[in-house]
Symmetry: none
């Protein structure tokens, strides 16, 4: 899942790349979209495993930065094929669907960090922690999308590091 152009990712491509047959794919995934939940789960798992014991700075903004870098590494490690998948996931547009989304580590974890940051007076609180989290996620995805659409032609980690640096600057109290 590493070398595809930004465009429609087909089941056949996925299978060729993973060296399995179409039948096998459908043995494990009920339908193409099932890939997504598997991948989202992978990302969450990866994040959980890799932030364990890492986010212990007193400065919550440092922790947020750290969190972002861990997440971006998962994307980098898997080539931009992964980000194609991530970015083809239809996002929830109804309030109920959004509720479920929040359960994901990728969303709940930064929210926790930001809340703590507000409590400690490190992060602006004229705006809710939820809104800030949203902005954080959109910014994260914005960078990933750009990178994927440019066929992974630049260093994602470096670029994201710059973006997150200014993001943190924006919300520091």
């Amino acid at each position: 899942m590493e070398k595809y152009e930004f465009e429609t990712l087909t089941v056949r491509m996925i299978c060729d790349s993973a060296k399995i047959s179409v039948g096998t794919f459908y043995h494990y995934f009920h339908e193409k979209n099932d890939l997504i939940s598997g991948i989202l789960g992978d990302i969450d798992e990866y994040i959980l495993e890799n932030i364990e014991g890492k986010l212990k700075s007193e400065d919550e903004l440092e922790n947020l930065k750290e969190f972002g870098m861990v997440a971006i590494k998962k994307v980098t490690n898997n080539g931009y094929g992964l980000s194609v998948v991530i970015n083809s996931i239809p996002l929830p547009s109804t309030p109920e669907d959004r509720e479920k989304e929040v359960e994901r580590v990728f969303l709940s974890e930064p929210l926790k960090i930001i809340k703590r940051g507000q409590e400690k007076g490190q992060i602006v609180d004229e705006i809710s922690a939820e809104k800030i989290t949203e902005m954080f996620i959109i910014a994260f995805r914005g960078v990933v999308v750009d990178w994927a659409r440019r066929s992974g032609s630049y260093n994602l980690e470096e670029t994201y590091e710059q973006h997150i640096k200014y993001f943190v600057r924006a919300i520091r109290k």
Copy 2:
């Protein structure tokens, strides 16, 4: 091109919506992707027309904000069908291709503003104006993509206003 789901925008849909036949479409556009240059041109034209005489604040960051709001309005006015198209444009990944991209108003205009801002000492200069412009564009697109992927289920202008507000805060000297 106004009310379609974020997903497949077919030539047939476009033609039906524009009340022309498929044949006519192909008489004017060599292929589907040709639509894009037309649309990009439209956006640039719209921006040029609408910022004329508007960006005269002494604070260049205000001008940048204004520029962003004008651009976002073009997207809003055209429904998310437009953003689908915008976001399906393959971005240049080679240096030469990037050169051409810069010529576009959508890129050259904010770059000018940011440069003036740096000259006036209003914007951070530890990082090049080009890099900041890049971040500005990625942030802009990030919001638009999110909005389109959620099928235009929230108010884009309001949301972008918030994002740009913090973006500006991030790069203010």
Copy 3:
């Protein structure tokens, strides 16, 4: 649509046989099943055209026989490809769906004949005209299915003539 084995009739087969492309098929039929209504319509039309002025015997059982022979001719003329289609039509199983089915010439016409036959005292009336019609149709289809499943290896008209002869004998008062 003439030379296929009794087995699944594929869209591709239909198209090859009709010498049109798959795309063309889908230009005219929304989905594969749409073929069916077209074919049912054809049969009805054929029957209507061919019984006009023919069913004027005083003996309604003769008219019923005549009707059956006209219908079977439509099947014969089109080879057993047609009967494959006929027999792959899912039959209505709910009362409401059955209502609609009755509107078809293929069902309404024999019903009329049988009713007249009962009025004239030519046909048994210990059982409703509707039930008799049902038996008539099932018998008709039974013969066609058998013929199709034996790959059209015998003379359908002759065989049906025999069957209808005894059917008529069964319901004669």
Copy 4:
């Protein structure tokens, strides 16, 4: 094999229902169609067991009716899954293949009854016993097919009883 829709009966379905694995299925049956001979054998066995000592009416038409009812009961008992299988059996279309078919109890038994009926002068003899048997079988299958195609939505035994009643009336001398 009891509760499936009229349409696709897959090997997987059969195996799940029989609580065996697909592998086991293919250990016993060379291919899916092999199921059929087993089932045909089952039907014959069932008929033989259930008509033993039953067909002793002096009126051979009564015996034919009885035979039909026994056979239809086998179908009813097994739900319409069975009839799907029955009706997907490719019928012999060459004379040699037909020879073999005749050996089956389902064919040979009614033939015997009808022959006796003709000898006793109870059944019409302007037409051969073989032809009458053929009509009997086609009529039997016709009802079963209709029932299966309507997803078993009515009482098969009752309906067949009516059909056989008139069939018998048709061939009575």
